[in-house]
Amino acid sequence: MKKSIFKLQCPAPKFDFDIITLAHGSGGLLTNKLLESGVFDLLKNEELDKHHDGALLNFGSDTVAFSTDSFVISPVSFPGGDIGELAVNGTVNDVAMCGGIPQYLSLSFILEEGLPIKEFWDILVSIKYAAEKSGVKIVTGDTKVVDKGKGDKIFINTTGIGRIHPEAEIDINHIKEGDKIIISDNIATHGIAILSVREGLEFETTIESDTRNLNHITVKLLDRFGKKIHLFRDPTRGGVASTLNEIASDSQLGIVLKDENIPVDDQVKAACEILGLDPLYAANEGVFMAIVSAEIADDLLQYLRTFEEAKNASIVGEFVNDHQGKVLITNPLGGKRVVHMPVGEQLPRIC
């Protein structure tokens, strides 16, 4: 009885789709629609309303960063990593993006019947090493098994928690006109590495996923530049384009990017050309963006480039008080275009 009354009180919002498609999980427009008119609205609260990669929670005088992520990827092992490493790094990075120092992780498996123990063990070993490298402990977890055909080998959920860095004041509301956008390394590497081994699209390449933990770098940046860093974000699924569109929309400012400053590896660029993909929309797993005060941008960039994982860092654009909520990109010819929020996953084109 109780359940039916609850349903009556919470009518489903009017979605312009009847079923969930893969595009709802792509990090683009449809993910946003699902979250904004569904999840965020129904579950509304002060912490959730921030729409960050994780939540900041206050326990007396302590602030803690808290984030969760689920990992589904095919194939589970890919050039440069596997789902285990991804599951640790992804959540560690989400906590780091909140200005947190990741300390503890939970780890849950949903395993498909028939998964060879050898594959499971390899993934577990990757998890161990990734956790050690990030400096986090895995302290709790869960395992469930589903019937064959009802999962894709292995799904992993990790949740991370960590104290906030004492100097961190990561808040989208701190972004102001003139703030610079720094990308820490070459983009689109993970997305293209995965595509290169996907059934039906295989192509020969040495491109490897960039999956790695970023917390050591973000902590050092916060040590040195503290409050001048207004936002960290890692442009995972949906890529740089989705993340910047979200930031532009939430900050109510406009963004101007310089095409020639976007760091992309030559091989990745060539693969994108062949497949008709735009690197701005491809996923990253080891890259972050820092939105920082203009006066420290050059210093921060120089320091950032001293890290091996960020040697290709670049200032790619800035915030302007024009075309609010939109992202524009200029090219060296003098042309301009809008970088839209992607609708769903990018699909390779015909010719």
């Binding site: 059934e199 020639e260 042309g335 390779p348 010719c351």
Partner: protein
Amino acid sequence: MKYLSEYRDPKLAKKVLQEIKKTVTQPCNIMEICGGQTHSLVKNGILNVLPDEITMLHGPGCPVCVTPLHLIDKAIYLSEKENVILCSFGDMLRVPGSKKSLLEAKAGGADVRILYSPLEAVTLAEKNPCKEVIFFAVGFETTAPSNALSVIHAEKLGLKNYSILTSHVLVPPAITALMEDPESRIDGFLAAGHVCSIMGYWEYFPLVEKYKIPIVVTGFEPLDILQGILITVKQLEEGRTELENQYTRMVKEEGNTSAQKIINQVFDVSDQAWRGIGTIEQSGYRLNKAYERFDADKKFSIDIEKAEENKECIAGDIMKGLKKPYQCVHFGKECTPQNPLGAPMVSSEGACAAYYNFSTMFKTIS
């Protein structure tokens, strides 16, 4: 990045642009045939920097856009049959049929796979002998050789469970149709470089002759396109109408004769329906008698009603270059890449989608 970065050099591009500005004295309408060129023109912001005298018209050269609605419905119908694996190039998946797209059919349980090469579909057929594997073979002359080759391979392997659903369109008959249209106001064409790399450009001499119009075989990079425009403008200013080849690094007059041989082995030229334009005589490929058992349209009885196009869409006017996307009242409002009303908005290479995705703020909003 040899052969790519060189053709994106902003300094050289600016030089060619200056030369175009110096050369042009009178208004002219130049149509780029290929959707890839439209995409590049808009993505690189070339439209914003061209002198006012030059108007670029965006032709019908997006194969995804001109694939008839009825055929998309057929592909969806086939994908939903038991024991069928329907394979397609990625960008066909999001194109809406009259009721849904292939992507939605997939979400509903249909086995739809994205492939980059039709030969992969043959491998799939080999690995899945109990399934019918159908490749949705769409495209201009450019993709015809690989689609034809897939059929030849399937025949060699003795596969009975492989077929293709074809919608192949050809460029020269489309140019004829555009020029025969009494409303046409095209002064010059940039022919599609990739199509010519397969077919050569010998087919275009009679068109230049008959319609007294410059045709310049052009590539896809910013510098290619600017050079193509410069060559066309020079011809118009000097009163010449010739066939010239800007894309010499890829295109020979005779084209790729081995590829043509494969096409001719498998396909016959036939009348073809173009979405948004209508049927153009002798403008497509059909599997010939010897290979018709690989024709999915004949192999399966496809019993579906022919759906009507949305009457609000002005696709024909857009693809004939009579109107710009932003001159349509539905552009960017009821009609977006998520909810396209018609052909040119469905693929990223369609004129409307290219304008929507890449145009400057002003044009997108107005």
